[in-house]
């Protein structure tokens, strides 16, 4: 194996032993890194070394490692999900860095996402927003024919774009106000755009916004930092749609 391109970096990582513990940044040298490694693989290498030295490995959440699960939210050098545009940390490769770099790695620092340990945060606030109405109520029975409900092609595409949201929480972490409106907007939009979501769209908008407010997220100030960092390129037009759906439901529904 040709190791000539391998290099060394120093990473400064947030270490926090538990939710209520005091955390701090700790520097680690990581040697002999391949430029083809992903950022998470680099942390794996570091963790293996830590384990060999009988030290606590760094807790970091990851699952699919192909950019579709939304687990691996990290702030790398002050950039949410790292320097690559519209990408997750697992899709970030070490070739973006060079020998001798000092890389700062932090968790989402959001009031509604308490830190569990080190880089792992509890994003269940987003789950509770979904539970408030991010679904359609369908009675059980035989699966309906796929073509029985016509859907406009543009709407289908747009709903799919909204549904691409992986709930990683980057929008909240990047928001100057810690607002979850891009997430909630996408989740309201993906259903509001389709006939299957139509019957419940008013109560959905009212309930999901109420749940969002309950979780102590900030208010959107329309600065669009969220759109800039979203790994799935979710557009802020989803927030506009949520505002629209919410106000229409507030004015014209019976609730």
């Amino acid at each position: 194996m040709n190791n000539s391109k391998h290099f060394n970096v120093t990473i400064r990582v947030w270490r926090q032993s538990g939710p209520d513990e005091q955390g701090r940044m700790v520097p680690y040298e990581v040697k002999d890194i391949s430029p083809d490694m992903s950022f998470l693989e680099m942390i794996d290498v570091l963790n293996e070394n830590l384990i060999k030295k009988n030290e606590q490995p760094i807790t970091v959440e990851s699952d699919c490692r192909e950019g579709i699960c939304g687990c691996c939210g990290l702030v790398v050098n002050g950039e949410v999900h790292g320097p690559d545009e519209h990408s997750t940390v697992c899709q970030l490769h070490m070739r973006r860095f060079k020998d001798g770099d000092i890389i700062t790695v932090e968790p989402w620092r959001v009031r509604s996402f308490p830190i569990i340990k080190d880089l792992a945060v509890d994003r269940s606030a987003l789950d509770r927003i979904i539970q408030a109405g991010g679904y359609i109520s369908v009675n059980t029975g035989a699966a309906p024919d796929a073509n029985s409900i016509p859907v406009n092609k543009d709407n289908a595409e747009e709903a799919m774009d909204s549904a691409a949201c992986i709930g990683c929480g980057a929008c909240v972490a990047a928001c100057p106000n810690g607002a979850a409106m891009l997430f909630t907007g996408a989740k309201i939009s993906q259903l509001a755009l389709l006939p299957q979501g139509e019957p419940e769209k008013q109560t959905r908008a009212l309930n999901m916004v109420a749940a969002m407010d309950c979780e102590k997220f900030g208010n959107c100030s329309n600065e669009y930092e969220c759109e800039a960092v979203c790994p799935k390129d979710i557009k802020v037009s989803n927030i506009a749609r949520m505002n629209r759906e919410f106000m229409l439901a507030n004015l014209f529904s019976k609730h």
């Binding site: 002050g78 950039e79 949410v80 930092e225 505002n243 919410f246």
Partner: protein, 225 residues
Amino acid sequence: MNITFIRRLISASIGRKVLMAVSGLALGLFMLVHLAENLLLFKGEMAYNDWVDFLLSNPLTPFFEVGLLGIFIIHIVMGVWVRVEDFINAPRGYEARKWQGGRTIGSATQLYTAAAILAYLTYHMLTFRFVNHDMGFYQMVTSAFRNNFFVAIYVGGALAVVLHLSHGMQSAFQTLGVSHPKYTPFIKLGGWLVALTMMGFAFISVYYLFGLDLGAAAVEMTVVQ
């Protein structure tokens, strides 16, 4: 009587934002009308004073003033409320943080320009509204515009409004859910144009500060002679 929908305007985050957006747009509209009225200064003392007299003699004017004050209060209260919540909930503690290009100078300074505008407005009321108007409105305004200190503050106020609206206009439309791939670019452009139009206030004051009206009057005098 079910008042949930009214309560929600205040209790829900989006409700508060909508109130701020609607009142903000109304204030922007008022500013445009105000600027048009100020332009009457260029038509001369008679035209300007006649217009002011018309406004003052109109029985609806006091109601309009109270309404305007109400809109201001809604905008300020909702703005402060939203910002206090944002301050509490803002992510903090990042060792390093880089903005990714969504933020603008206008959006990042929204609260500061708001404070500057409020401070200016108080000064504006104290110097133009709650004073003795015996000398006539045209004289009052133009003599103020010949004062360096006053014009400096006046131009500062106008700049704060420009910066505030550079973000505020498009933000209001987004909050009201007006978003469309065809029209949003025009709304953003229009927002900037409305914001820049507010430089008109500064232009008028500077025009008088440098005595450009006197130059025009002198030319007229020569022609008459």
